[in-house]
């Protein structure tokens, strides 16, 4: 337990010690400068207090070497802060490969999380300890922000596209999460708890909480048929639209000659705004599904399309870029 008046939250993720170290580093430099300036002001204030009413001070015009020194030294220190901060940030913005992916949807004013097996939670998030967790964040309405102080991470949840964040919990326990982007009336109560569990407990919890939800891949497969996606996106590549087998994570060659990696954001955009990126060799025929799908339905479709990653890719009729030497 921490004392009654802690000055930092618990450290419960891989990022927490890094962010705290940055905090200590910058605080040390800033306290030094703040104290030096304050001391100088206080000493001058008393030492050079006016003795006679008509006294004047001793004039100095300035000193360019001094000016140079107090530009260059702070600049060097500032660049150190910038560099170290950048290292932590770049790490945070690039999730490792082996993540456990959890979908999180924010809406006024609650959080829904969906585990890989489809288990759904509201204002709760269960994750195993010492595992890289990636959250794929979507919003049904306004901008929210998923913030876990004990993990020292947050990311905005923006309507219209996916954001992702990752962390590795390092300590079992229950930790607050908050919405930290103002989102309307009940912004302050749009929060909950992250429960970090031992892997065995997590597995037991996953299987124990039975019957809460359908498997998102199965739900997505159903929508794929219901929304008639299947009519054009034929698996063997003979349809009017490219086969989606093996798509997820692969490079896609576009009509304008560029390539794009098929991640969640690309899949989402292709469902909602199909003409934004046209796959090379195909016509812009697909209608938009903007406004016709809830975020959960989009997630289910995405989960299904992701599940096709391991299916055989047809030799013709796939959007995947051929493996050339070109980048």
């Amino acid at each position: 337990m921490q004392s009654q008046l802690p000055i930092y939250p618990e450290q419960a993720s891989n990022f927490a010690p890094q962010v705290d170290a940055l905090m200590v580093f910058i605080t040390a430099i800033c306290v030094f400068f703040a104290l030096a300036i304050t001391a100088a002001i206080v000493i001058f204030f008393f030492k050079f207090h006016r003795k006679k009413p008509d006294d004047v001070g001793v004039a100095f015009e300035g000193d360019s070497r001094l000016e140079a020194a107090w530009m260059v030294i702070p600049l060097i220190l500032a660049m150190a802060m910038f560099g170290w901060g950048a290292v932590v940030y770049v790490d945070y913005r690039h999730a490792p490969q082996d993540t456990l992916d959890v979908y999180v949807i924010g809406k006024q004013w609650m959080w829904k999380a969906q585990q890989p097996n489809g288990l759904k939670e509201i204002n709760e998030l269960h994750v195993p300890v010492n595992r890289n967790i990636r959250l794929i964040l979507a919003s049904e309405d306004v901008i929210h922000d998923f913030f876990v102080p004990a993990f020292r991470v947050k990311m905005d949840v923006v309507p219209g596209h996916y954001n992702t964040m990752w962390f590795r919990p390092t300590k079992p326990g229950r930790y607050h999460f908050f919405c930290s982007q103002y989102c309307g009336t009940n912004h302050a109560i749009m929060g909950g708890w992250v429960t970090v569990m031992e892997p065995s407990d997590y597995a037991a919890w996953l299987s124990g909480s039975s019957g809460v939800s359908a498997n998102p891949v199965l739900a997505g497969e159903k929508f794929f048929a219901e929304k008639t996606c299947i009519t054009c996106h034929v698996a063997d590549g003979t349809g009017r639209a490219p086969s989606l087998n093996g798509l997820y994570g692969a490079p896609v060659l576009l009509a304008d000659g560029s390539t794009v990696t098929a991640d969640e954001s690309y899949i989402r955009e292709s469902i909602l705004v199909p003409n934004a990126k046209i796959v090379a060799g195909y016509q812009p025929l697909m209608p938009t599904f903007q406004g016709q799908l809830t975020e959960e339905q989009i997630l289910a479709l995405t989960a299904y399309i992701k599940s096709l990653q391991s299916r055989p890719v047809p030799a013709k009729g796939s959007g995947i870029a051929p493996p050339t030497g070109k980048k």
Partner: protein, 546 residues
């Protein structure tokens, strides 16, 4: 007191509402920005009382959200942005450069009327349903989901923008064209340099925020899809456009305060300011670099890593000119003849609070740290240190410094020193705990919070009550002094600027004869007219070198 001056040259309500005298217009501004400061202050008081208990002591969630939104809108757009430029800048720039008025006196009056019209729209919004979007108006909350009176508020801020633009234009033209003989660019008071830089930001930035809020209003009224993703818009685009102005707007607030401090310190240390050219240049550098740091408000929106790296780097660069100013002010004190008058106490308080505000900006500019402290109370504390600890402290200090010039009378000295100390202590007690709250993870804009945050919130509210006293005291004794204060005379400190060469209060035409400047700025040694110990005139200047 002089027999006739700008305050008694004519009487009646028309002589004020139709005046083109920059000094009278400045007083119109003083009245109206004080009114908005009162509104903002009352809202702040209610916020702090509400946060005394974790569940919220005073109002409903809807009302709380309106309190902090209206507090922000009133304070930023209708108090902080106009305060120093429109009151002190308006009053002093012509006097400081030896001019009779601003370049466009009628446009100057128009600025005030535009502000008043904008203010009425915003007050209408406050009175009919209030505003609950946050002063940042993030879309699609403001443009689609909010049920409050967003439309009149954005119209009011849109209109108010033109006031800012016209004031900036007026200042720039005045400073270029109306300087007295001998008032070269490097003899300009640093207050004028600071306002020149501020005016650049006003002219270049304000149109962007005006149009941005207009677009949000159009989306709200006519469902045009600019920012709403359901209509094909991009909510993040709003943030880019909004911060393109609203980050530089911070410099609109702080640069004029830096100008005030650069006047007070040499006057009360009685020596030339250390590094004049560096302080003047740093104002321009802040204005220029300040335009390319905006996306540091957006490090966790999902913006590209490269953009984040660029904006973090540039944000660190803008810290350097601010540091240069602090070092130069501090060095000016060395071997000065320092008086402990109230303006000096405000100025030194400013340096202390601005230093903390500026240094904590380094934490937020740090990418790795910002992912934790962004949108927490750390940010709230940081920007209040800049805007209240910095800008408002500078404004109140400046009001004290030039009060004898504006009214012809002195404020009560002991009481004003007590007020300066009260403000400093109350401010720190209010806002320092919020840095810790933020690091502990308390998000901003919360009407209710987990109980572990209560102690720090109670401390903050206790500080706010001291802070409120620190603001009420000057309002009371300054008002009192207008009638009962000691007559000041033209130059009570004495100070070196041209504004102190004329009567207090000045005549309507500012100077009885056009002044000619033969001395360098803040030079006490070669000014026998100031009646100080040193003081032999400079050898006659060699004319003809322009």
């Amino acid at each position: 007191m002089p027999h006739e001056h700008y305050l008694n040259s004519s009487y009646g309500i028309r002589s004020w509402l139709l005046t083109t005298d920059h000094k009278r217009i400045a007083l119109l501004w003083l009245g109206s920005v004080t009114f908005f400061f009162f509104i903002g202050g009352i809202l702040a008081t209610m916020i702090r009382i509400h946060l005394l208990t974790p569940t919220g002591a005073l109002v409903s969630p809807e009302t709380y959200n309106k309190l902090f939104t209206m507090h922000g809108v009133a304070m930023i757009f209708f108090f902080l942005i106009p305060s120093i430029p429109a009151v002190l800048g308006n009053f002093l720039i012509p006097l400081m450069i030896g001019a009779k008025d601003l370049a466009f006196p009628r446009i100057n009056l128009l600025s005030w009327y535009i502000y008043m019209v904008g203010g009425i729209f915003v007050l209408y919004s406050f009175g009919t349903g209030g505003l609950d979007t946050g002063w940042t108006f993030y879309t699609p909350l403001s443009s689609v989901y909010s049920n409050s009176a967003v439309t009149p508020a954005v119209i009011g801020i849109f209109i108010n923008g033109f006031s800012s633009i016209l004031t900036g234009l007026n200042f720039i033209v005045t400073i270029h064209t109306m300087r007295a003989p001998g008032m070269t660019w490097f003899r300009l008071p640093l207050f004028v340099w600071a306002h020149y830089a501020t005016s650049l930001v006003m002219i270049l930035g304000t149109p962007v925020v005006a149009i941005t809020l207009l677009l949000a209003g159009l989306e709200r009224m006519f469902h045009l899809g600019f920012f709403n993703p359901a209509l094909g818009g991009d909510p993040i685009l709003f943030q880019h456009l909004f911060w393109f102005y609203s980050h530089p707007a911070v410099y609109i607030m702080i640069l004029p305060a830096m100008g005030v401090i650069s006047e007070i310190i040499p006057t009360f240390a009685r020596k030339p300011i250390f590094g004049y050219a560096f302080i003047a240049g740093s104002s321009i550098a802040i204005a220029v670099i300040g335009f390319v740091v905006w996306a540091h408000h957006m490090f966790v929106t999902g913006e590209s890593t490269y953009a984040a790296l660029t904006f973090s780097f540039l944000s660190y660069l803008v810290a350097i000119p601010s540091a240069v100013k602090v070092f130069n002010w501090t060095s000016t004190l060395y071997k000065g003849s320092i008086s402990w008058d109230a303006p000096m106490l405000y100025a030194l308080g400013f340096i202390g609070l601005f230093t903390i505000g500026g240094l904590t900006g380094l934490f937020l500019a740090c990418l790795g740290l910002d992912i934790h402290i962004h949108d927490t109370y750390f940010v709230v504390a940081h920007f209040h240190y800049i805007m209240v600890g910095g800008a408002v402290m500078g404004y109140v200090g400046g009001i004290h410094f030039w009060w004898p010039k504006i009214t012809g009378r002195l404020y009560p000295e002991a009481l004003s020193r007590a007020a300066a100390v009260t403000l400093f202590v109350g401010f720190n007690l209010t806002f320092f705990p919020q840095f810790i709250l933020g690091y502990l993870g308390m998000p901003r804009r919360y009407h209710t919070y987990p109980p572990e945050f209560q102690v720090l919130n109670v401390l903050s509210t206790a500080g706010a009550s001291i802070l409120a006293l620190g603001y009420l005291l000057p309002m009371a004794y300054l008002t009192w002094s207008m009638r009962y204060g000691k007559v000041a005379g033209p130059n009570p400190w004495p100070a070196t600027g041209l504004e102190w060469q004329t009567d207090s209060p000045p005549p309507t035409e500012n100077f009885h004869v056009t002044p000619e400047v033969t001395w360098e700025p803040y030079d006490f040694e070669h000014r026998p007219d100031l009646g100080l110990a040193a003081g032999s005139p400079l050898p006659a200047p060699a004319h003809g070198d322009d």
